[in-house]
């Protein structure tokens, strides 16, 4: 090798002078608890996500991560503050955003390919193209030979792959993930993280990714930037910009270093919250509406 290969290591450069894809400004989300008191889930949170970036929002459980994803997905509204997509307030769900949920919502009466094709039908893809695109994406996530089986015949990891294929087949501008690999065993999780890294390397258009997770390793493996949230009520504590090429491995020196730094920060935060008695699980983030 005759020349020094200097992989781009300057995430602090360019992005900031462009208009952000997602802009969250002073976001507050409160809920009424079952006992009638008002609980703050998200407390004045502001951040940007730029086109082509992969941002992970990381925080202890109950810190309001899912609230933020639900608002970005258009499934919920801010109590106050602004959440903008391409400079416009988010008014509801749309085909420009696909969401990966922790439990993949696949229709059980449709085949795996049928599920992907339905999503394509809903965005107006022609019947001829639907089948071809579904096959392509199922093959991309390693489910090529499972296209015709029913979702219940798949393992949890395979169902999650099917969900990923369905999301990516519709070619969304933004892929949102709400703990998408949280319910998987360690091996299935690792395989899917590799899958996502491969998608990131091979993607054609500049896709924007925003995942929430409480898994530090996942964030360090996947993200260009990691936003770390406090215990409830959720505020942003720290941002880590990671300039390392993909695919990354957990034992890469930089990845391991980021994992240990962020892990330490989170442990301090959880201990602080516990000492102050504010670590009660505020509300069931998902089921409380």
């Amino acid at each position: 090798m005759s020349e020094v290969i200097t992989t781009e290591v300057t995430p602090t450069a360019a992005p900031d002078d462009r208009a952000p894809k997602i802009a969250v400004r002073d976001l507050v989300k409160t809920r009424r608890s079952t006992r009638g008191s008002i609980v703050t889930a998200v407390d004045h949170v502001s951040f940007d996500v730029h086109i082509g970036e992969f941002v992970c929002l990381l925080g202890p459980s109950g810190c309001g991560k899912t609230s933020i994803i639900n608002i970005l997905a258009g499934l919920d509204e801010p109590t106050s503050g602004k959440v903008l997509l391409d400079g416009r307030p988010i008014a509801g769900p749309g085909p420009d955003r696909a969401v990966l949920f922790q439990e993949p919502a696949l229709f059980p009466w449709l085949s795996v390919a049928g599920n992907v094709e339905l999503a394509l039908k809903l965005i107006g893809t022609s019947p001829a193209e639907r089948a071809a695109r579904a096959r392509t994406w199922l093959t991309n996530v390693g489910l090529g030979s499972f296209a015709d089986v029913q979702p219940h015949e798949l393992s949890a990891g395979m169902r999650q792959r099917a969900q990923l294929a369905r999301a990516l087949a519709t070619d969304p501008d933004v892929l949102l993930g709400d703990e998408p690999f949280g319910a998987l065993d360690a091996q299935a999780r690792e395989l899917l993280q590799d899958e996502v890294q491969r998608v990131l390397l091979e993607r054609e258009g500049p896709k924007t990714f925003f995942f929430v997770t409480h898994n530090v390793r996942e964030a360090a493996l996947l993200a260009d930037r990691v936003l770390v949230m406090s215990a409830a009520p959720g505020r942003l504590l720290e941002e880590v910009r990671i300039g390392a090429p993909r695919p990354r491995q957990l034992d890469d020196v930089l990845v391991a270093r980021v994992v240990s730094d962020v892990h330490e920060l989170l442990m301090r935060e959880v201990a602080r919250a516990r000492a102050e008695g504010s670590d009660r699980p505020i509300v069931q983030e998902v089921d409380d509406r």
Partner: protein, 69 residues
């Protein structure tokens, strides 16, 4: 060797210029150092990792931390 070092590595002596002259750096090595210096200048808190293969720096990786409150 001075008492405050714990490794057997030879500790360079002299001014920065003298040390650089003694090393007689190649073009490639100077490029790496320039790249590292550039990153160090831009980071307040963080980590820089040099990945070396076959005696050559093949990759420079970095992570930068920002306190948000």
């Amino acid at each position: 060797m001075s008492d405050d070092t714990t490794t057997d590595a030879e500790v360079p002596q002299g001014s920065a210029d003298e040390q650089l002259a003694a090393l007689d750096l190649s073009e490639e090595e100077r490029l790496v150092l320039a790249r590292v210096a550039d990153i160090v200048r831009r980071i307040n808190y963080g980590t820089v990792v040099l990945v070396i293969q076959d005696g050559k720096v093949v990759q420079v990786e970095m992570a930068e931390k920002f306190r948000l409150r």
